[in-house]
Symmetry: C2
Subunit: 347 residues, 2 copies
């Protein structure tokens, strides 16, 4: 009296029970004109009684379109979580369904995308894709594709990202104005936006005549990376090399890792050292004194991504576009003037 024996009710069941044709039930469920209010009511009531729910597979098959957007993301990226949260409501508003596919250990981007395509997503939104530009371009030729957080210069894809240079510049101005000179940058490796951030960091250092202090420490967009850098810096300090007075991290996760290591080692933030992150993911609010970070508006980015996809699909905008959002430095508690006397590099 349960489980596998229980057949899922179909439209035909509803139709029969309500004494109408299948087509009429279809009309009612698609909220289309062509059914009297009474019939509509009766159909809905009967459907509810027998627990009918439209089968999206069949529906999808029947009408040519799936009205589904596929989203590839990484489970462990808080900023992706923020983006996903923004994607749902915008997609719903435009009448699209959302399918998530995560990359994870042992499940690469290719696999995640494959799954989305198999489910007939009309468009694919890639959050911080790490794939080669040529692969992304290939995907873009096969289906409407949006890359979020990463520019893919000559590929046939829409892209939504922030003006990395601008964000880094703001952060650097902020630090320099506070009096910092010994500012290091933790690199984001192949992570989205890293190259631009690195470039902008270098340029800013040069512009302020700080070229001798310029230092890029290799890393990536994980807490792990921030912690390793922290340990590295502490280790160097113990061997006589002074700590930098400020660190521009590759992203918030990296900044978090760094902070944990440093504060646990008794380094005062921002007393002894300032830290600036990048993303303004949920993480940054969570710190007691707040992480100074470059805000990327996740909700806005999500909205652009969804709209780009939908407009391409519906032919409103046949050509791929690029949205470059203005980042905004959000000064919170992890940045302040460099320690007295140190000045930040005047040896």
């Amino acid at each position: 009296m349960d489980g596998s024996g229980k057949q899922r009710p179909t439209m035909a069941d509803v139709a029969e029970r309500a004494g109408v044709s299948r087509a009429l039930v279809s009309i009612v469920f698609r909220d289309q004109p062509g059914a009297s209010p009474q019939t509509r009511d009766r159909v809905l009531r009967v459907a509810d009684e027998i627990g009918y729910r439209p089968d999206s597979a069949a529906r999808l098959l029947a009408r040519g379109r799936s009205r589904t957007l596929g989203v590839m993301f990484t489970v462990h990226q808080p900023f992706h979580a923020d983006l996903v949260e923004g994607i749902y409501p915008e997609a719903e508003r435009l009448g699209y369904d959302v399918l998530l596919s995560a990359t994870a250990q042992g499940r690469g981007e290719a696999k995640a995308i494959e799954a989305l395509l198999g489910h007939r997503c009309e468009a694919v939104i890639l959050l911080g894709p790490g794939a080669q530009p040529k692969d992304i371009d290939a995907l873009g030729h096969r289906t409407v594709t949006v890359s979020v957080g990463r520019r893919v210069p000559h590929a046939r894809v829409d892209s939504v990202h922030t003006a990395e240079g601008k964000g880094v510049r703001q952060a650097m101005e902020h630090l320099v104005e506070l009096g910092h000179r010994r500012i290091v940058h933790i690199d984001g490796g192949r992570g989205p936006g890293s190259a631009e951030r690195r470039r902008a960091y270098r340029a800013a250092m040069r512009r302020h005549g700080l070229e001798p202090e310029l230092r890029v420490i290799p890393g990536d967009h994980t807490e792990q990376s921030g912690m390793e850098t922290g340990r590295l810096l502490l280790d160097e300090r113990d061997h006589g090399r002074p700590l930098p007075t400020a660190v521009l991290a590759g992203n918030d996760r990296c900044a978090m890792g760094l902070l944990m290591t440093l504060t646990q080692a008794g380094v005062g933030v921002p007393r002894d050292l300032s830290v600036v992150g990048y993303d303004d993911s949920h993480l940054s609010h969570l710190m007691p004194i707040g992480l100074t970070t470059v805000r990327q508006d996740a909700v806005l980015m999500a909205e652009y991504a969804v709209r780009f996809a939908v407009e391409r699909l519906e032919g409103t905008a046949p050509e791929p576009r690029e949205a470059v959002l203005d980042p905004k430095l959000t000064v919170r508690g992890t940045s302040g003037p460099p320690p007295e006397g140190v000045g930040g590099g005047n040896r």
Copy 2:
């Protein structure tokens, strides 16, 4: 020359181009006997050439079963990320597809579940469901359901969770053995497992004759909650009430928030205060000295969840079951003896 005009190739296209029948293509793609190696090769080659990929909607419709497991999770829960990572490989191993549906701001559990059912998931795996037991029971009557991280006593659902009591007991033994007496617990509110953890904390305090020190601070499973508790404790200290010497947090996120607040305020961990978390999510490894926490094996839990669902679906285990995994205290750096002289409550 792009986009909507480009029709997705179907089996018929492959068949025609390879000079065989549709059925044969179907056979090849389902990896079934009944096609010669040469034909098989040719079909696959042709399919690859024209970029054919089986349409899962149609496939799902045609064979009665979808072989799809739906997973409801919360984007911002790191432990859910760990679970999702474990679910994918196990599902794949058993030949099932995975569909994710996130709860988020403005997208409650009901909506997330609705989406899964609409996509014909045969079973639903709920990660840390917050819904009312009766609603979960109702769902369990409609479809195979597995609750992960939360017991749902009289409901028709499988469940996978850890022996909360045991975990808390271990943590408490550990703290008491170190010499702690003033141990407070931050509650997890309606979060999964909270009630059991709270109960176990109370019992442990009583068993060790620490009833006078017993204190449960309301909270939930977020960093926010940990931070608020931290501020509360610091505030109390400033008004003369001594800090507890140890805190048993509701989960790792909460412990993280607490840690951030305390260490930033100059409280040494574990010098002045010990902190124990719960989950052993990725977070706990990320701290420089490591979070002492009660390990819930995410991978194992994920495997149980998937297997329970599949075995119910395939009739191997018609009745819902419960897996209670043994948690294991993982001692890392945030726990140590209480500060000298304080002893931990001997006023």
